[in-house]
């Protein structure tokens, strides 16, 4: 078989297998490159909030006491929350909020506090539409976090959502529709349809290998389809 028909045959059959995926790869690639990453991250939705100075007069419980009460603690962080000092106590698999004035346990934080924090952080348009406590299964878009979470939905055009840790009142993340679109095309791009995170999957490896072979055959074909014109042009001058 002549090289050119060999290349054509392989290019044809391999792209029959990976053609759809090639369209998806380039389509998702264009989405990811055309929209600036900072926008995808939702930087425009968040206003920088500086934490308040610690009011030491109201700190009556020392860090030592907290560490006695929580022997598994790995770090203890003193901050101001809603005007009062609190300790964020983090251990390997749990975290809580402790009132630095009374030593009392204040997790999970209530909806009013979360609403206040959300308004403080939000720089987008629209108002809070809904605040929900998520305790069990988390939605795909915030899989990596640990429940319980507060989910705050805003009424902006892009359906912005803020997530707060319900135990520590920490601002965890923000989502909006372009982020969700990005997450979806990322799934198509890396072909991990379950967790959307594992690039080491065999489906992707197989598709990329076949795609690469198809590309090689395509390059081979190019060589022939443009190569002939050169030879006929040289025939003209000679």
């Amino acid at each position: 078989m002549r090289a050119v028909s060999f290349f054509r045959k392989y290019h044809k059959w391999l792209t029959l297998i990976v053609g759809v995926q090639a369209v998806l790869w380039t389509l998702s690639g264009v989405y990811m490159t055309v929209i600036p990453l900072d926008f995808i991250h939702g930087d425009h939705l968040v206003r920088p909030v500086e934490s308040q100075k610690i009011d030491w007069n109201r700190v009556s419980v020392g860090p030592g006491r907290v560490s006695q009460n929580y022997p598994s603690a790995q770090s203890i962080e003193l901050i101001m929350l809603a005007g009062g000092p609190v300790y964020r106590v983090k251990s390997a698999n749990s975290q809580t909020l402790v009132d630095a004035a009374s030593g009392g346990h204040i997790s999970p934080v209530d909806e009013d506090l979360v609403r206040m924090l959300a308004v403080e952080h939000y720089a987008g348009e629209g108002v809070i539409e809904q605040v929900t406590l998520l305790e069990g299964n988390l939605p795909q878009e915030i899989q990596a976090a640990d429940p319980p979470l507060w989910r705050v939905d805003f009424s902006g055009a892009n359906e912005p959502t803020f997530y707060f840790d319900a135990d520590t009142a920490e601002f965890l993340s923000r989502r909006h529709n372009f982020w969700r679109g990005f997450d979806f095309v990322w799934m198509l791009h890396i072909m991990d349809y379950e967790d959307r995170a594992n690039v080491n999957n065999w489906l992707l490896r197989a598709a990329a290998s076949l795609g690469l072979l198809a590309a090689f055959a395509g390059i081979g074909l190019l060589f022939f389809s443009f190569g002939r014109r050169r030879s006929s042009a040289s025939g003209e001058t000679g």
């Binding site: 369209v23 006695q68 395509g218």
Partner: protein
């Protein structure tokens, strides 16, 4: 579809390499284990509980350490309790027990790194650097670089301010990062995949993929998906057939199952004549089989009934069968392609070029007058500028719209009849080729004719053949030729043979139809011949003379002109043989006219050009 292919090809030229780089780098990144790339596989991962001594810390000492603090974080570094204080002027570390500054010195940095690293490999070097730099692109500030001698040159970066591990690099990551750079096309910073270069390349690649995808639909035939036959072919299974030919002794041939005879023979380098490449539209791939095989509808349309009854079939319409017997036409078995060079080209009518080819070698089988050759039309583009259309005739070309380029999407073959008699010079081939204008808006100029028109003296040309049995029998006592346009070629060949020393010199009447005076080919040659040879008559009729005052000859369609003469023929029509050649309309109308005059069909020989 041709436009799609054209686009796909050019886009391939522009982004094909980058597409390959994306696939390669993507595959490599997918192949590398992310645990290794991130260095997570060599992290000790102990739980760093606060030291027992932390239990004694009170609020007052804490307040003294950071009176203006916004955040005070109690952590463990190297087994000691440390306050990380975030205040007005940034971040600082103090020992929680003594309140003294806790600086991340090079010793501490090395110790922190060693505590994090799971292996026993020694630290080889600790140096202070200022981020950001290539291996640490998103951090700002002083960092300790701690190198390990662990066989993959692991480097841990320890934050000079907080003592935290910022990242874990190793040679796997370093290679990975090069692929990442190739993937993002950000050759300076490596991380910005919103750069204009990748956006332009990405959009082009999207079009490359889309045009390719659309092209796919027309790239397959149903037969391609006959998996069972494909499996059998792949396993090397073959079908045994007997091939016969007038010019070869019968031989057994192993052919691939599941293919048409046309394709299966082509795979064995036995090339049947064809203009359509096996698509079932040209009717040239005629072979003979046992007549009991039912003809397909295509065959009934393309072949005359008398031929079908004799077992003539189209090889592209029947699949290979075990123990089949097939009779191939002359000049196919054991034939080799002929090569030659163009020596001369010239326009002889507004749309017809005469092209002369000198073959490199004498054909193994001598051609016979009236035969045709098949020209290889390679895949690629032809520039219409290279047609060299004479000034005065350009307007007639542009009536049809002439694009700058005409594309042959795949290599194919086209038939062209010889316009000279072989005895004149067996190595010389003269062809009369007519440019075929677009059949509709959606089509372009014919690829084969465009290819011939773009040839220049010196260009190489590859041919097959000669083929065909377009000639009178020896029984005929008189010949009547009817032709038009480039249908001139084989008729001229027959006439030049007839009146040469090898011919019988029988009386010939040549009815030739053309549109205008300019479209008549070789008129001087035939007028001269008519003067020298009283038994030769040359009758021309113009179908569209317009207001050409100088034309005093016949007008109208050539078959009607011929009919008028033949009706009052002074000799016995039954002893004459008729040779018709040209476009299908002419051939069809003339055949009908002759049958109407009670000419037996076996006295009518036809060469239908199909266009």
């Amino acid at each position: 579809m041709a436009a799609m292919r054209w686009l796909h090809k050019w886009l391939g030229l522009i982004v094909g390499i980058q597409m390959t780089i994306w696939l390669l780098s993507g595959l490599m990144m997918s192949a590398f284990n992310m645990q290794t790339v991130s260095g997570a596989d060599r992290v000790r991962g102990d739980n760093d509980l606060l030291p027992a001594s932390a239990a004694t810390l009170d609020a007052e000492t804490a307040a003294r350490s950071g009176p203006d603090a916004r955040i005070v974080r109690l952590r463990t570094i190297l087994g000691q309790s440390v306050y990380e204080i975030v205040g007005e002027n940034g971040l600082s570390l103090v020992s929680a027990e003594t309140g003294a500054p806790f600086d991340i010195t090079s010793e501490r940095a090395a110790e922190i790194a060693r505590e994090d690293f799971s292996g026993s490999a020694p630290v080889t070097r600790v140096i202070l650097r200022e981020a950001p730099f290539l291996e640490l692109r998103t951090h700002d500030g002083p960092v300790w670089r701690v190198d390990f001698d662990d066989g993959r040159e692991t480097t841990l970066y320890v934050d000079g301010e907080t003592g935290r591990i910022l990242s874990r690099r190793n040679n796997v990551w370093r290679v990975f990062d090069v692929f990442w750079m190739l993937h993002t096309m950000d050759y300076a910073g490596r991380d910005n995949f919103n750069n204009p270069l990748i956006i332009i390349a990405g959009i082009s690649a999207l079009w490359l993929a889309l045009t390719g995808f659309i092209t796919l639909f027309s790239s397959f035939r149903l037969q391609d998906f006959d998996l069972i036959s494909a499996m059998r072919r792949w396993r090397g299974r073959r079908i045994q057939c007997t091939l016969e030919a007038p010019d070869a002794s019968p031989a057994s041939q192993a052919l691939a199952p599941g293919l048409s005879y046309f394709d299966a023979l082509a795979a064995r380098d036995i090339q049947l004549p064809s203009n359509c490449g096996g698509a079932g539209t040209c009717g040239l791939c005629v072979v003979r089989v046992e007549p009991d095989r039912p003809p397909t509808a295509t065959e009934r349309r393309l072949l005359p009934d008398s031929e079908l009854r004799n077992g003539a079939r189209l090889a592209c319409q029947h699949r290979t069968r075990n123990d089949d017997r097939l009779e191939l036409p002359e000049g196919v078995l054991g034939a080799k392609p002929l090569t030659g060079r163009v020596t001369e080209t010239r326009f002889i009518a507004p749309f017809i070029k005469e092209i002369t080819v000198k073959l490199n070698d004498r054909p193994a089988r001598s051609p016979v007058s009236g035969q045709y050759v098949q020209v290889e039309i390679p895949e690629g583009a032809m520039e219409s500028a290279s047609f060299d259309i004479p000034e005065g005739w350009r307007a007639r070309w542009f009536e049809h719209g002439l694009p700058a380029r005409i594309e042959a999407p795949a290599s194919q073959r086209r038939s062209y009849s010889m316009a000279t008699a072989p005895h004149e010079d067996p190595k010389l081939l003269v062809l009369n080729v007519r440019a075929v204008p677009p059949a509709s808006d959606k089509h372009s100029w014919g690829v084969g004719s465009s290819y011939i028109f773009s040839r220049k003296p010196g260009d190489e040309i590859v041919l097959h053949g000669p083929f065909g049995r377009f000639r009178p029998t020896e029984r005929a006592s008189e010949l009547v030729l009817i032709g038009g346009g480039s249908g001139m070629a084989p008729l001229r060949s027959l006439i030049r043979h007839e009146y040469s020393q090898y011919g019988a010199g029988r009386p010939v009447t040549f009815f030739y139809g053309a549109r205008t005076g300019a479209d008549i080919l070789y008129s001087e040659e035939f007028e001269t011949l008519a003067k020298q040879r009283p038994e030769f008559r040359w009758v021309v009729a113009l179908s569209d003379p317009g207001d050409d005052e100088s034309w005093s000859g016949r007008k109208g369609l050539i078959h009607e002109t011929a009919k008028r003469d033949l009706k009052v023929w002074d000799k016995d029509l039954l002893k004459a043989e008729f040779l018709l050649c040209g476009p299908p309309a002419l051939v069809e109308a003339s055949t009908k006219m002759l049958l109407g005059l009670n000419v037996p069909s076996e006295h009518i020989h036809v060469e239908d050009f199909g266009v």
